[in-house]
Amino acid sequence: MRMVSTKYAARSVGRNFRRTILSIVGIAIGCVLALFMESLNKGRGELFARAGSASGMGHVRIVPADWRGRREPRLRLADWRADFAAAQALPGVASVTARVRAQVLLAVGTHVVPVELAGVQPDVEPRTFRYVRTLQRGRYLRAGETGTLVAGRAIADRLTADLDDEIVATTVGPGGEIQSALFRLVGIVSTGSDDTDLAVCQVVLEDLQRLSGFPGAGEVSIVLNDYREIDRARARLVQSVAHGDDVMTLSELAPEIEGHLEQDAAMTRFVSGIILLIVLLGVASAQLAAVLERRREFAVLAALGMSGPRMVWLIVQEALMLGGGGALLAVAAGLPLVWKLAHTGLDFSRYVGGTYAFQGVLFDPVIYGDFGWWIVPYISAVAMGATILASLYPAWYAARTDPAVALRVAQ
């Protein structure tokens, strides 16, 4: 049998139609904003992983023994070929590439630019480094071909170098001696951002081994099909890499970035919290107005002997109905919004100038929200939680109506 008290709550909600609609819309807007932020927060993890897979950093990287602490480009892997094979044997691997790096001065005539020159495997490098997939001018490096170099457009501009110009690269060898080599500029990469361009400068692996005087490779970077498998992949690799070599995850490689993203997430949660607090106060004030209007009604109910807890429950039931309405509206409005956010993403290139480089890592200026079934429980919890909280004070206020006093007024 349906309880009269439930009918009573439902009809009370319907009594002031306009206020009810406004409350429901307010709750829905608050929920949708919170949902939007939460979807982006979840998308940040994916953005980070995407940066790892496209910026050359990799989801997981095999590094030399002491590299974790010193981050010294001259360090070499104990056996990079063994490490490379171990990485390729990993299940769920999308691509594997080995590199060496060196601090180098590039010079054309009197123009000099210091860069971090990377020696790469031309056949696999573009799979892990998005910016050399398509070049603005010229072509990419070729396997087996030596003496060629591709550079970011900002580097070429500063050197006043054009395609096919010869560039002198100078570095310090293992014994402290100055070593130089001549490279021909075969391709120019344009990322749209000078900062990012300055981080792109590559030759083939063998050329840099020779120039630096250190054989071998300094890193093997691995991109996985699914970034959520990072920890598992790392655990497996630790077992199979050459003795002495170390395995690091994306978070370990770029802790500042992860911290930065976490800070962003905390900030957006804080903003969501403020928005919800404002909505909550709005709903509380509407509920309180409703309770005040019905002060006499509550006095009568109290006189008849309705207990405080029952009165609180009555108001909370009314709040739950508002919350339910708000949640339905929020789901109806939020699902398509978040779906769009997940599929077209939020492009902030206008604000960061093409690409976004942080700590040398290139980020896509498009962040995709996360879309999933978590949305429905999330909205329900937020809407119900906020309205229950909002109703507590009005409910408490109604419950302490003194029937003798309240019945006397406006008799």
Binding site: M1, M3, V4, S5, K7, Y8, R11, S12, G14, R15, R296, E297, V300, L301, A302, A303, L304, G305, M306, S307, G308, R310, P403, A404, L407, R408, Q411
Partner: protein
Amino acid sequence: MTQTSDPIVRARGVTKAFVTGRQEVWALRGVDLEVGAGEFLALVGPSGSGKTTLLNLIGALDVPTAGELLVLGRPIASLSKHERAHLRLQSLGFVFQAYNLVPVLTARENVEFVLELQGADIDRRARAQEVLAELGLADLADRRINELSGGQQQRVAVARAVAARPAIVLADEPTANLDGENAETLMHLMRDLRDRHGMTFIFSTHDPRVVAHAVRIVTLVDGRIARDDLTGGEPPHTILPAVAARTVGV
């Protein structure tokens, strides 16, 4: 006095003071009163004489400042707020001057709601319908309150007050908003209920036509009982002591 058994309301030197700002208003200045089960009692007196105040005390809506007040054997002054609410819910019925029904509920739902609050383990809907029928409202049970006339609303209010068969029904100027005919009808219905179920009715009024229905008239003046009269209004066939014997000790 009229009652032959223990009174269900007993007041001894009951006073009530209200403090407003720095002023003290003595609404009751020492009321001694005993009401037996099954009485049909009118409280009369000039405006401000303390009728509402006394009804509120007997109805456990408020507590006396001093004196002893026992309602159904319970000392009102020493009950907690919660215990007073429980006493009201289980044993007292209220009829208000302004009807005070829940506007969003139908006539029957208003009655049923009180039974639901009580947790009455009966077919509440059937009981509500039955009580409404007793008050001549069978056909109006499904009407919303705002679709009823004042007289009909007050009858619903009486139905709500008596549905749970309380020991005492308290009514503060129940006919003040009704015309003569409706007032007359209401008084007849209340008398009927009292005769049939043995409930005690205590009501305040200014209306001489209503007073005419009372069996006992208690006159308050300045917070004191000035007169306490039995009227000839008691028809000879009314078997008050027998009714009292049935309900005392409930």
